[in-house]
């Protein structure tokens, strides 16, 4: 639901799981965000979405570059995109590490709509991009 000329905040989803890539952007759009999905970290980095993304929903375990790898890469590139990790591995030891490295949140799949919305909201609140406004 795009609203007039106001540019919607772009939430990018990077996950190797196809069902996530199918379902999550649809839900995000229902929430009123713009959403794009990428099947790998490399694909995301190669896209023009890097500069426009206000919030990154990032899978941890992926073939090739993993979620944390991408996080590091973005830091290296000084791309301050708030990151919400999503993972199917319910590993409680990983979460604090990722938060310590600057992640907004780490959601274990399956997660509720409320948890998702709250995490994305937090991320967008942090995002300093002038063009990004949460609805």
């Amino acid at each position: 639901m795009r609203q007039g000329t106001r540019k919607l905040s772009l939430v990018s989803v990077v996950d190797d799981d196809e069902s996530v890539r199918e379902s999550l952007p649809d839900l995000l759009r229902e929430f009123g965000f713009d959403a794009r999905a990428f099947s790998s970290a490399e694909a995301f980095l190669a896209s023009d979405a890097v500069a426009e993304t206000s919030c990154l929903l990032l899978d941890i375990a992926m073939p090739g570059m993993s979620g944390p790898d991408l996080q590091q890469e973005l830091t290296r590139r000084r791309q301050k995109i708030p990151i919400v990790f999503i993972t199917a591995h319910a590993d409680e030891t990983v979460r604090p590490k990722l938060l310590a490295r600057g992640a907004v949140e780490c959601l274990s799949k399956p997660f509720s709509e409320a948890a998702l919305l709250s995490a994305v909201g937090t991320a967008l609140g942090q995002h300093s991009s002038p063009s990004a406004t949460a609805t």
Binding site: D17, V20, E22, L27, A61, H89, E113
Partner: protein, 654 residues
């Protein structure tokens, strides 16, 4: 020398008258002279004054009388010179009318010379007749006899063993020097004394005397008798008495030679030896008893015919019966475990049937209800009477059995832990597999609701998300089904399997794990793979394990692709093979064998159980698991199992 026949005229006077002229005479005279000349015994006739009156032919031949001797005094005759007292003896004979004898030695020869009065027909002794009987041979044998006797005496006296000759009434006839010395008596005081009076009556033993009496009666056998004898000089001695009969030709009466052998020293040595061997026996018995105690091994003998059973001390301890109590089969039956009753009876039956060694294991139930495991080995033999006897060893193997069971339990627990460990990883991977579709379901369902709630409702979008929800739900359900199949299976549950399909399932399960480790998995499945019979879940565990190992082996590989290649192939006519090849650190050829052992691991965080369990599973399928070093980097683990399930222990699934 010309021998002249002696001529006699029937009267002494005429003899003299005719002296020197004996060539003529009457026919009767001539006959008599002929007869005298045939007599081998020399005969010389002397006149009363001891001059030679005449002699026969033998006198000339044997003692060398000559014709010129006639009329000579006997003293001057060479042949008679050796009898210096002849004149006087002849005179005595003439005076007394009684003949006398003289021994005459002539060189080597001996003669007995009989001097008889020569009587005329009217009874007057007018001269003497000397007859020379040659006794040389007799004298020689007499000498020999004396010599032999002396020799025998010397020998007997030299012999240190006391000897005595007893007469038929068991009186001492004579003994040797050793005999008299032994009893400290003299020949004179014992001569004729009864043997049993010797040595304070030590020889009065009736069995000994009875034997001697039987020997006198003609029995030649004698059983040597031991007699204790106290000697004042030597103290207590043990004598062994032996006897043998002495029979002399021409003597109806038997005598007995009794020998006294001093066996004191021998007895003492024997006693010492007995003592020593008794000591040794006691010691070896002690060793045996101690050995039995330490090794918990008892022994028994069983005389089958009489059911006479002898137990060692240790066996009493094992059965917990009072030591020394008489053992019966009934007693043994009271201890044997009810489940082993039949076994025991069969063993007894078999044992009675004949000579064969046997070995069996059985259990005892002790009064406190505890169980003992016994291992028995019996050896069939014949006793002294030729009857069947078993000699057996019985070992209490309870401790061993218990520890074996404990070990088996520990092993199975360890295997459980190993399985749980690999399942832990597996579970995480499965959780991932489940969480992905769950996540999709929730997201899609949420989206769907929102689309329906919109005004106007986005029905097309809602349908799409609902379809995705169903798809993801099915996906999750599949994962759960696989997960359930992987849990809690111990025995083989046999079913017909397509190894390609089995492998595919494993790949599906481990895919995310492999992705996370940046491992690329490739598969090459044989198209003509035969269906085999096996346990799906367990074989999947093996493959999963090999894949995980392959993945782990490449954890530190950064300079090449982390590639795992799973291949299936026929292996010969009746086997199927699965190989998992990695490009990791590879295996040291030396470690290939050890790799398959429990606890051996090249990984720092592994328990090393996985391969061991895998091997057990493969071997349960009568197959083989092994590893090979690749030509390039890494190793290949392979297993090969037969298509036919023969001999595989099957459990019907519950």
């Amino acid at each position: 020398m010309t021998v002249q026949p002696l001529w006699l005229d029937g009267g002494w006077a005429s003899f003299r008258a005719l002296n020197g002229n004996y060539a003529s005479g009457t026919a009767a005279t001539t006959d008599l002279i002929s007869i005298l000349d045939t007599v081998e015994v020399p005969i010389v006739v002397l006149e009363a004054d001891a001059t030679i009156a005449g002699f026969n032919k033998a006198a000339a031949d044997v003692i060398g009388m000559t014709r010129s001797d006639i009329g000579q005094a006997s003293r001057g005759v060479a042949a008679l010179a050796a009898m210096p007292r002849l004149d006087r003896q002849c005179r005595e004979v003439l005076e007394g009318g009684v003949e006398s004898r003289v021994d005459l030695r002539d060189g080597d020869r001996w003669f007995v010379v009989r001097i008889s009065p020569y009587r005329t027909s009217d009874g007057h002794a007018t001269g003497t007749v000397l007859t020379f009987t040659n006794v040389t041979a007799f004298r020689a044998s007499l000498d020999q006899a004396v010599y032999e006797r002396e020799c025998t005496k010397a020998i007997l006296n030299t012999v240190s063993e006391p000897l005595v000759v007893l007469s038929a009434d068991l009186r001492i006839q004579s003994g040797n020097r050793a005999f008299y010395a032994l009893f400290e008596v003299s020949r004179d005081e014992t001569q004729g004394a009864p043997l049993h009076e010797l040595g304070d009556g030590a020889f009065a033993l009736e069995p000994f005397r009875a034997q001697l009496r039987r020997m006198i009666a003609g029995n030649d056998e004698f059983q040597p008798v031991e007699v204790d004898h106290v000697s004042t000089s030597e103290g207590q001695r043990t004598l062994l008495l032996d006897a043998r009969p002495l029979s002399f030709p021409g003597h109806a009466e038997r005598r007995i030679l009794v020998t006294f052998q001093d066996i004191t020293a021998h007895k003492q040595a024997q006693a010492a030896k007995d003592l020593r061997s008794e000591e040794e026996l006691r010691r070896s018995e002690a060793f045996l008893a101690e050995g039995q105690r330490l090794s918990l091994t008892g022994s028994f003998s069983w005389k089958v015919a009489t059911d006479e059973i002898t137990w060692s001390e240790q066996l009493y301890r094992i059965y917990e019966f009072d030591s020394g109590a008489p053992v019966t089969l009934e007693m043994i039956r009271t201890r044997v475990h009810p489940d082993d009753d039949t076994l025991l009876e069969r063993m007894i039956e078999q044992a009675r049937d004949g000579m064969s060694d046997f070995e069996w294991q059985y259990r005892l139930v002790m009064p406190d209800r505890s169980i003992k495991y016994l291992h028995s080995v019996a050896h069939a033999t014949k006793d002294q009477d030729g009857h069947l006897e078993y000699i057996a060893a019985v070992q209490d193997v309870t401790a061993r059995r218990t520890s074996e069971e404990a070990l088996a339990k520990a092993r199975s627990e360890l295997a459980q832990v190993a399985r749980a460990t690999s399942l832990g990883v597996l579970t995480a991977s499965i959780a991932h597999e489940v969480n992905q579709p769950l996540s999709g379901i929730i997201t899609n369902a949420g989206t769907c609701l929102r689309m329906l709630d919109a005004d106007p409702p986005n029905l097309e979008g809602a349908r799409e998300t609902a379809r995705r929800t169903i798809r993801d739900g099915n996906r999750a359900s599949d994962v759960i089904a696989r997960l359930r199949a992987l849990f809690s299976k111990d025995e083989l549950t046999l079913e017909a399997l397509d190894l390609n399909e089995v492998s595919r399932e494993v790949i599906a399960l481990s895919e995310s794990d492999l992705q996370r480790n940046q491992v690329t998995l490739r598969s090459e499945f044989a198209k003509d793979l035969p269906i085999l019979t096996g346990d799906r879940i367990q074989l999947q565990q093996v493959i999963l394990n090999l894949v995980r190992n392959a993945s782990d082996a490449m954890a530190n590989v950064h300079d090449r692709q982390r590639l795992v290649l799973i291949r299936t192939a026929r292996d010969g006519a009746d086997q199927v093979r699965v190989s998992v090849r990695d490009a990791g650190v590879g295996v040291d050829p030396e470690n290939v064998g050890k790799l398959l052992d429990a606890f051996y691991t090249t990984k720092t965080d592994g328990m090393g159980i996985g391969l061991s369990v895998s091997r057990t599973i493969v071997e349960r399928h009568h197959g083989r698991l092994w590893a090979e070093q690749n030509d390039g980097p890494g190793a290949t683990f392979l297993f090969s199992i037969p298509i036919k399930p023969e001999g595989i222990p099957e459990r019907v699934p519950r």
